[in-house]
């Protein structure tokens, strides 16, 4: 039984289609990344899964229970948040969790303390939420999600506002929960953060699912990754790249080398450089397979596979900056 099973979800606002016939499934123990550019319908979809928005068509089952649009029983053992977590600013973090625990009926005061400790807020629990930083609110949101011992987590940008250490902690926490059998739907525009934790991805564009599959399938289907390269002899490196299968190289406007490398072709190129006694001084991944796939699926411009390496890197990076 899937933890999430959404079928044929539609949502329209006047003439605008926010979500168009979306099917989505998340298995227990699976971490599924939900990707899409701004306005793709990710948040609307997440809100529909939480019962905050009534779909115009389609159905949602969470942990085998149909969602009737009024929340409640169907959301038992479902944790998470949509957009940035919100709390009552005039209450302390602990009081906010106590209040939510009461609404859930199940969790105890001990569970509240445990949840606070798990996100590192045990010492700030008595402080009013009004004084919390964005990162602390994010942590409190996670604590609220964990409070009810969820079997399904729906998380929207869980690492937003967190420092690098906090981001790593959240990633580790998500993986840990997944190994315990918790299904996780992770919505983020920080693709790098998703790449390390997701088993599967669903990519949305203009309200529709444009790609859905496992992480392995995505890597296999991804267009070339982009790298920045610095060597002891760049001209020689360019010549070697031209002879390699699946590798394209060029020089950026700043004179740096940029590579477009298809999956599995990098090793041969590196060995060839070594054989030619060209030392690699720097090899930075500019665009990962997931990022390349994401932008390939969601960009309006020329297919990325047809771009020159430099253009590929610059196009993708420009897209990422947007």
């Amino acid at each position: 039984m899937d933890a999430v099973r959404a079928t044929g979800l539609d949502k329209r606002y006047g003439t605008t289609t926010a979500v168009d016939g979306v099917d989505l499934a998340v298995a227990p123990g699976q971490v599924r990344g939900l990707l899409g550019p701004n306005g793709a319908g990710k948040t609307t979809l997440l809100r529909m899964l939480f019962g905050l928005i009534h779909p115009d068509a389609g159905s949602v089952e969470l942990l085998g229970r149909p969602l009737d649009g009024l929340g409640g029983g169907a959301l038992e053992e479902v944790g998470g948040f949509v957009e940035e977590p919100a709390f009552y600013p005039y209450l302390s973090g602990r009081a906010n969790l106590t209040l939510l625990a009461r609404l859930d009926a199940g969790p105890s005061a001990t569970a509240v303390e445990r949840a606070l400790a798990r996100v590192g807020l045990e010492r700030r629990g008595e402080d009013r939420v009004a004084g919390y930083s964005t990162g602390m609110r994010q942590r409190l949101g996670l604590a609220a999600a964990l409070l009810r011992s969820p079997r399904l987590l729906l998380l929207d940008e869980p690492t937003s506002g967190l420092d690098p250490g906090g981001t790593r902690t959240v990633a580790a926490l998500v993986r840990e929960l997944a190994t315990e059998g918790v299904a996780v739907l992770l919505c983020s525009h920080q693709i790098g953060a998703l790449e390390r934790v997701c088993d599967a991805y669903t990519v949305l564009r203009e309200g529709r699912v444009v790609w859905d599959g496992s992480a392995a399938e995505l890597v296999a289907q991804a267009p070339a990754s982009a790298y920045a390269l610095a060597t002891s002899d760049d001209e020689q490196a360019l010549r070697i790249a031209a002879e390699q299968v699946g590798v394209r190289a060029g020089r950026s406007t700043r004179g740096e080398l940029a590579l477009a490398v298809h999956e599995g072709c990098l090793d041969a190129f590196v060995f060839a450089l070594g054989d030619a006694r060209v030392a690699i001084r720097r090899l930075d991944l500019l665009v990962s397979p997931l990022e390349a796939m994401f932008f390939a699926l969601t960009s309006d411009g020329a297919p990325l596979a047809e771009l020159e390496p430099v253009e590929l890197a610059e196009t993708v990076l420009a897209g990422a900056e947007r």
């Binding site: 809100r47 929340g71 029983g73 959301l75 939510l100 625990a101 009926a105």
Partner: protein
């Protein structure tokens, strides 16, 4: 003991924070939130301390709020203070409390962006709505009762538990007065709940706390304006304000319950309409954005003002429809009987013996000034009193003029120039200065 206590604490902390019933859980949650807010605490303080401050200010000065029902008696009976406060509360106090309690209850979730936080827990929208409704209702009842008890205590402690002249001119003993006063406060609870429902409706519909708070006050203002015009009883009885008039019938020699019954039904209808509408709005709502824009939106207030104006115009047109409640016949009958009673009371106060069943021969004649003799406004009543005498002319006629300010609900304040009946105070048989019962006369008659 030392080992049992930590174990008990540990067991306590491992118990679920919520109970089995989700509505009860939502109710407790809302109470916790309301209790933590400054507005609720401030309201509680005002409801406790306000009546004492009011009574203290009155005690420190010789003036009286004589325009309010029983206002001329605030120096004579503590219960008059409670009833004057009840009158003020019915006009503005209850709408304000209801607005502050219910007006921000739902809109604050929009302001803090917390709908998504609470709606993604185990409670359904129905549970949360019911919990909020019950919490607002419970606090509204609690604050009303607090105000009732506090006002009675303030009056009794600062002025004294003395008897009071009722709305027919008869003295009510303190024991019965206490019962009637507390009952009057209780009878206003339905009206208070109706105003709270209005506040909740405004809060849900506009998602704006300010409009939610002002909503009941707007309805109260509309009621006040309508009360000034129109002679028909129909429209007045359909307004929430009528719920705060029902108790007047208890303070007459021949109690009348018609207005009380109808206003109670009207309050229930308002509650049902507001609760049903607000629930339907909330049930169908899509929770889209995280926060409501704080940029001032002039369209919503303008729409509300336009709607209120249109409603007021329609109601004003309807205000003359239906039978007239205030008629010369009803006013004359009420004031004639009351004048008889207060005259006898005055005689008793100055030490004259009044035989049981004594009655003056009074012929009242009331007319509305510069208008048709129906409806609220300024009236003039002449009371012709026939005194028996042992001469050829068996009766001596004397007349007393009263300026009467009559309200839509059949309640009036009648005042006569001191030349006729003496000043506001007089000396009783023991030489004490007491309120002259003839100087200002309050009365109420049944408008149905």
């Amino acid at each position: 003991m030392s080992t049992l206590a930590p174990r008990a604490a540990a067991e306590q902390s491992s118990l679920p924070l919520g109970g089995e019933d989700p509505i009860w859980n939502a109710f407790r949650t809302e109470l916790q939130k309301l209790g933590a807010q400054l507005t609720s605490r401030l309201l509680a303080v005002i409801c406790i301390a306000g009546p004492f401050a009011f009574a203290a200010v009155l005690k420190a000065q010789s003036g009286t709020p004589s325009d309010a029902l029983f206002g001329a008696w605030v120096h004579s009976s503590g219960f008059a203070i409670s009833l004057v406060i009840l009158g003020f509360a019915g006009t503005w106090g209850f709408p304000l409390i209801a607005g502050l309690l219910g007006g921000d209850l739902f809109a604050s979730e929009d302001r803090h962006g917390t709908w998504k936080t609470i709606l993604t827990r185990s409670c359904t929208r129905t549970d949360l709505y019911a919990g909020k409704l019950l919490a607002a209702g419970a606090l509204a009842v609690a604050l009303t009762l607090l105000l009732a008890v506090s006002s009675v205590l303030a009056g009794v402690l600062l002025v004294g538990a003395h008897s009071l002249v009722d709305l027919s001119g008869v003295l009510i003993p303190p024991g019965r007065l206490l019962g009637l006063t507390l009952l009057s406060w209780l009878l206003c609870l339905l009206g208070m709940m109706a105003y709270t429902s209005v506040a909740i409706l405004f809060s849900v519909a506009t998602r704006n706390g300010i409009i939610g708070v002002l909503g009941p006050l707007l309805v109260a203002l509309l009621t006040q304006l309508l009360d000034l015009i129109g002679r028909g009883v129909g429209v007045h009885l359909l307004l929430i304000g009528s719920a705060f008039d029902g108790w007047h019938g208890l303070f007459t020699t021949h109690p009348f319950y018609g207005p009380l019954l109808i206003s109670s039904l009207v309050s229930v209808a308002w509650i049902a309409a507001c609760v049903t509408t607000s629930w339907r709005i909330l049930r169908r709502r899509d929770f889209l954005a995280t926060t409501v824009s704080r940029a001032p939106d002039w369209r919503t207030p303008v729409r509300i003002v336009a709607l209120a104006t249109a409603l007021l115009a329609v109601l004003a047109l309807l205000a003359n429809v239906g039978p007239a409640g205030d008629t010369a016949h009803r006013l004359s009958a009420a004031i004639g009987e009351e004048f008889n009673n207060v005259t006898l009371l005055q005689q008793q106060l100055i030490g004259r013996r009044v035989p049981a069943g004594a009655k003056l021969d009074v012929l009242p004649a009331c007319n509305r000034r510069a208008a048709k003799a129906v409806g609220p406004g300024d009236w003039n009543c002449t009371l012709y009193v026939y005194l028996p005498q042992a001469h050829s002319v068996p009766f001596q006629q004397t007349s007393v003029e009263y300026d009467v300010s009559l309200e839509y609900n059949g309640c009036y304040k009648a005042q006569s120039p001191p030349a006729f009946i003496g000043g506001p105070t007089m000396l009783d048989a023991h030489g004490h200065s007491v309120t002259n019962p003839l100087y200002i006369v309050y009365g109420c008659f049944n408008t149905l």
